[in-house]
Each structure stands twice: as C-alpha cells, then as structure tokens.
Symmetry: C2
Subunit: 460 residues, 2 copies
C-alpha cells in the first residue's frame, strides 16, 4: 500500500467514525478483534444498498424468489457441503508450550509471541466455522455451527421452494444475511471481518449437454454483476475479472471469476461468480436421503446445475465509499473561502439514491421564526409522501446549526446530493436555493416544483 492510498484509507476510516457511518464494535470496551458496528448514517447507506440489490435481483425479475434462512442450521448441512472438512480450514502451527496457534507464513521469526517458546507442532488443519452448543448440555452431540455462507440455506430449501412456487428452470433463489468465519487474520477495516453480510443468488439451470449450455448463463451473470457495480457507482476500470485457476478453485466449482477491485490496500476480491455444477444438490440428496431432483414435465428427473453470483454487503459498502470519497481543494463555500473549514472541500460523490439523505433543508438563519417555519413546511413536503403515507419520498436531513458554509461542509462529507436553503427571498417569491453537492453550484427553484426537480435528479 503506497502512502497516498494509505492516507485515503485512513481518511475513510476516520470519516466513518467521525460522522457515524461505522464505529469499532464494542468500542467502549476496547473493541473486539476487528468487529464493526454501523452507525446512524452507515445503516441507511447499507440498507439502501441492500434494498437496491433486492429490487434489481428479486422483485423486478420474474425468474427469482427470495428467502431468509436461519443462521444456525442442522450440522449435517455443513458435512454435506464440505465445510466441516479441510476445504474450509486454515493450516496453523501450535506452540507446544502455551498452545497458542498461528499461521506459519506470518510468524517470523519462529518464536511464539505469547510465551517466547520456539517449539511448534507441524501445521494442522483448523476449521473456521464458529461452533456453539444448542440445548442444555454442552458436548459433541449438541455442537452446531454459525453458517459459514448463506448459500447452503438456498440448497437446503430448494425442494420446498420448488414445490411452493412451481418455478420452472432456469430460476434463482436470493438471500441477504449474515455469515460467520473464524478468520485467523481479519483486517482492512470492514473488508475482512469474522461476522459479515452476504447477498447471494443460486441460479438453477438445466443439466448442461455441452459446456456452452452453462457458459451462456455464466456470461449473462458476469454482465449482471457489472450492471450492479455500475448502479452503485463502481468505476469499471478499477475492476479486474480474475479467472481463478483450477488449482485455486473451491472443491465444488468448475469455473470461478473473482471480481477484483482496486481497494486502497490492494486489488482484492469484491464479488465472485462460481459455476457450482450440481455438487450441492447432489450432496444434500446423498446426506439427507431426500430427493432433490428437478422433474421436467417431459423427461428424466435431474439435479439442476448452479451458477452463483455472490456479493458482500460490507465490501460493497467499502467500495462505494472508496469511489465516493473526493477532495476538491479549489472549491470554496458561497464563493468565499472559509478558513475554519480547512484547505479543501471533502465530499462523498455517492449515487443520490444510495446516500443516507437525499436532501437537506436549512433555514438561512435559525433565529428568524418565519424562515424556520417555512423551512419546516418544505422539509415536510420533501420528506413525507402523502400518496403513500407509510413511505418516505426521500430521507431528508434538517440542520439549523452554525453558518450555511458549515452546514454545506457537513452535508458534503456525508454525501447528501442536494441542500435546500430557505431565505428571505423565499418568503417573497416562494423559491428556494438548491445547491449541488458535486459542483457546489446553486440554482433557484420554486417550492411547488421542488419535489419533481429533486426526484428527477435523484433517480436519474
């Protein structure tokens, strides 16, 4: 990581904490091993990402259905999927004296950091599923696992979903939810954490007669992943499609593409696309004894094959922030450089529909009741949807603190695309100032046209 990128990452982490996007988990207790909590702005941005994904991949399509499975599943699920085996493990050496375990490749020199002993066992396989005990007795019989991926819930529910929805191939099942991996070396802010959220699709296709039968679905989903990245504002030039070679692919996959994004700390996997063949359904049938085949109206029953696009929520969030973070040294506020705000303007160039707030409303002066009252009216118009009283038009922020320059600064930094100011002219001609986050330019807009004006720009 070069110095400039190092700085960028530090600035993002600092902004996240300072403005309430992401806090260190259990912060007042000194944290907990790279766990993180999403704060008031972070949860809105994260929810907007998840909502957008669900709309694009589930509710706007006819060939997809959603589900939401339990995090704790029957342990046989993980035997069938291969997760309790060596494929989901890290090789660790153990200090013979104090029994601490380490990854050999990162332990240099070979001295135990805990007790200074130099004697270690041979590397042993360490499974990274979190285990816990269900019921009143702790013991081998009561061991269950926190799921290591959301995918298995979709295979285990395949038959129930097929029977209840009567979908025909090809069709997909989508799920958003948390997964847990007892990583030995989590890190890079929210990039690799032990508890993380996935958005996954298992797309079930016909048994391929030839390679092109599954390749065409694979190519289609490559394009869908790229469409999605564009929707959330990821620059395609920063993404490399990495064809995972045979030797590095997961045991179930015949082809995997990792979408590698240029994070400030290096090119790392943002999303993945895997052709899982019929590995999962076949194995779950074997382990459960339940028939998981698809029965076409004419023809023999068979196990559908699976193409799996997999999206990390937290990594999406981080990539979105990395793209959005902008510094503009040339721009001043209201045409006047305000020294108190520092040398350069920081703004998050978020897609307007992803931003925590789509607009902010200010009365020019907080101590003029007429301005405040009018501003509250505008705020309510923008915020509440009278046609659909249980939904908002947009999320709207209210600010009457400090001067207008500081308010712009504060909204820029959290990515609010439009700031609306109510001033004395508003009381005369019912127009407001709308100021654009990215250009810092201002225009006057009539109050009665304001909602349309913003809608067009937010959803374009």
């Amino acid at each position: 990581m070069n110095k400039e990128n190092n700085n960028l990452m530090e600035k993002i982490v600092s902004l996240c904490k300072r403005r309430g996007f992401v806090f260190p988990g259990s912060d007042i207790y000194g944290g907990l091993a790279n766990s993180w909590d999403y704060g008031p702005l972070g949860v809105e941005l994260k929810n907007n990402i998840k909502k957008l994904w669900w709309q694009k991949f589930v509710t706007q399509r006819d060939d997809m259905v959603g589900m939401d499975g339990a995090i704790i599943m029957n342990p046989k699920v993980w035997e069938a999927s291969g997760h309790t085996g060596a494929g989901f493990a890290e090789m660790l050496i153990e200090c013979k004296k104090c029994h601490q375990r380490y990854r050999e490749d990162i332990l240099e020199p070979k001295v135990c950091p805990a007790c200074k002993s130099k004697e270690f066992t041979e590397p042993k396989s360490f499974n990274i599923l979190f285990k816990t005990f269900i019921g009143p007795v702790e013991g081998d019989k009561s061991i269950v696992y926190l799921r290591g991926e959301t995918a298995q819930a979709m295979f285990v529910n395949f038959k129930n979903i097929l029977d209840t929805t009567r979908k025909t191939l090809p069709f997909g099942i989508a799920q958003i939810g948390k997964a847990f991996r007892n990583e030995i070396t989590p890190g890079n802010f929210i990039f690799r954490t032990r508890e993380f959220e996935q958005m996954e699709i298992e797309y079930f296709i016909d048994e391929p007669k030839k390679d092109s039968d599954w390749q065409k679905h694979f190519e289609y989903w490559m394009k869908q992943v790229k469409d999605w990245m564009k929707m959330i504002g990821i620059n395609e030039k920063k993404v490399e499609d990495f064809e995972v070679p045979d030797s590095e692919r997961a045991h179930y996959s015949k082809r995997t593409v990792d979408f590698m994004y240029e994070f400030p700390f290096g090119k790392k996997e943002l999303y993945g696309l895997a052709y899982r063949t019929d590995f999962d359904l076949k194995n779950h049938e074997k382990f459960s004894g339940k028939d998981l085949k698809y029965r076409p109206q004419e023809g023999q029953p068979f196990w559908p094959h699976v193409v799996e696009p997999s999206f990390g929520v937290d990594r999406s969030f981080l990539a979105v922030l990395c793209e959005a973070y902008q510094e503009d040294p040339s721009t001043s506020f209201n045409g006047v450089q305000d020294k108190s705000l520092g040398a350069s303007r920081v703004y998050l160039k978020l897609k307007p529909y992803l931003a925590p707030y789509q607009a902010a409303v200010f009365p020019l002066l907080a101590n003029k009741p007429q301005l405040v009252q009018k501003a509250r009216e505008v705020y309510q118009i923008l915020k509440l949807n009278n046609q659909q009283p249980t939904t908002n038009n947009f999320n709207v922020s209210w600010d009457e603190r400090g001067n207008i320059g500081k308010r712009y600064y504060a909204q820029d930094e959290i990515g609010t695309p439009y700031c609306v100011t109510i001033d004395f002219d508003t009381l005369q001609d019912d127009t407001v100032t709308v100021r654009d986050r990215d250009t810092a330019k201002q225009v006057r807009v009539r109050v009665q046209e304001l909602k349309d004006f913003l809608s067009k720009r937010i959803w374009s």
Copy 2:
C-alpha cells in the same frame, strides 16, 4: 388451547409451509429444534413489516436514528448488562448418570427420558446465552457470546452516536437485528425460537426529577406501540396491557408493560415496554471506565434514563397472520361454486401494503397471445416505477396457470389484495377487471387509471 384455536394454528402452519411463507429450518435433515426459514412469500411479508417499522420509528421522525451492531460483542458487555448472571438463566436439574439436563417443572415423573435413571442433582442455574470461541484457540479466554438482545449494542454505541449526531435529549436509537437465546423449551411455531429477530428502541430522556417526568414518556410510547399494532392490522381488542408486578420485572426495570396478544395458543407477550432507568449506561460506564454521561449545554452531566419499546419481528409476523387468516364459506368464485377448490374460501386479510404482492395480473386465457401480450404490458406498468427506476411501484405477481377461479384462490390464500384480469373486452375498450380479495367483488377500471386506482386503495 381449545380445539378451534388448535385448528387455526394448524391451518396457519400448514398454509405457511404449503405456500412458501415459513418452512421448518433444515427441513430435509429432519429440522433443527424448532428453527424456521422464511420462504419466498414470508421474506417479502417480513421485509414489509421491517420497512414499515423503520419508516415509522426512524426515518419519519426527527428524534430517532438507526444503527446496526455486530451480533458478537466483547464479552464484557454481557457482564455489565447482567446477562452472564442468574438473571438470564433457567434452573435445570441434571441426570447424575447421563448428564442430560431438564427443567424440573416439566419432567414428570422424575425419570430421565434418556437413560431412565432417577437420580438428579439439585436445580442449577443454566445461562441461556449461546457461547462460541473467537480466534484459533478454544478456551476460557476466547469465549464470546451471541447477543441475547439487540438492546446492548445501542447502549454501547450511545456515546459514539451522541458525539456524531449531536442529538439533544430526548432522542432514540433504533435497531433491527437477530438475537439468540438457548431456550430450553422453544415452541409454538415461530413464537419462541432460539434465533429470533428484534426491532428495538432505546429512547433516552432527561434524568427525572419526579415520577411523572418518565411516566409521560412511558405513556407516549404505550400509545406509539398501539399505533403500530393498528398499522399492521392487529385488533386492539385482542391485546391486553399487562403491568408486570415488581416481583417479575427484570432487574433493571422500574416499570414494564407486556402487550399480551390472544394467540391461538393462549395470551402471550407480543411486545414489551420497559422503563430501564439509567441502569445500563451507568453499568457500562462502571465496567468500561468510559464516561457515558450526557452533557447538557447548561447544568451537570448525568446518565440519561431510558424507555425501551421492544418488538419481535417473528411475533409480529405471526400475529399479523393470525389476524389475517379468514375463511368465508359463503363465497364462490365468479358466482359459481367450484367444487375442486373445497368448501370455503380461505384468504389472508393482510394490510395491502404488508402483503407479499400488492396485485396479481392474469391474462384470461394463457393460449391467446393477444391477451398475454396486453397482460404483460399491464404487469410492467404496475410493477416498474419509471420515475424511480431503482424502485418498484408494487410487488406484482403474474399467473397464467389453470382457470381464473384457481388463480383467485391461490392469490386469496397469500393475501394479494387485488387481482387484475385482462380479457377480450380489454382489447376493445382498454379496461380490466379488478377483483377485491376481501369482498370478492369485481369492477372494471381503465388501464390508464389502474395505477392510481390501486395506489389509493393500497396505501389508504
């Protein structure tokens, strides 16, 4: 549970599985101790409940912010909150021979069901937090817990949220997320499960000078809870406010009201409202050594007091279904009793904005390309929002299977409020038949007015 209610519960569980609302968790492996997965329709209904709650209690209010904390927190959190102690435990007796543990009150006669031994230990406290191990070494030092409630994340983040949002009292923090309790006797479908989802608010208020200072907030939140129940269609006559007596209240609470709903299996807690005093912030300050006081502009720093409304997502889901389930023996389809559909019409009288689908669109006949094409056009108009391309107007279902009576039956059973049929008249006069779920009445509506017609009814 009387026979009629027993039947109702069986019917709901059966409908949930048959139509894809809720499946037994890990079903193909014989399940897992009362765990459940939400299927394609269930996840939509559940998401609609959560979205509505977030809108009502977070984004439409100025005095609330959201957050989303990690499930695994620093174990000191649970020491400070008292959850690792006797207050969050069940008393169990242990078989001296095979070491299985049981709740004494439900073990009759006193014979171990596992090994038939009759020798038991005295009752011992059994903590119901799920524990797991973080990092590569299993041992006392690596024990962490799955959170037993979402509430603690809001206390632990109180200071960070206060500093970043600069909110002034009173204000609230809201969170939706999973919690885990190793219950000895889970049951009643999704009512009591080991893994469940909560929607919780910690509402921070001034240090009360007299009881009426906190009571007024308590009364306000009682009303808010009731407003919410009304929004999701809970009949207030089926809800009893139970004042939890001193002896039964949690250790931190000075007043608790349980909102008891008449489930088919008895009157049980649906929601709760607790005055937690300053117990939590004070204890977290004590255990963490971090100052968690609120500093008013003028006056002494103090620990805010807390009023906590707590809503179960799964219990909301179940109560909504219990209210919505209707049988109408008198109604036939299209004026003709269709014997193949059974004696009575079953429908879910869900609030239209909560239903998995707000509308269904059918071509009268699937083998007439003109009808199918026109129906697809209407389907797209209803489904896609051209002004806001990343959002849907409504969720819309498409069905062209079987006859129209069976399609109505299928939509009634999943609570779709409006069915729109495109027939030969549509091709002439551009009107469609709109059929109402609850009355089974039909009206003709012009296609260009259809979206408004439905919007008004769905959001009213």
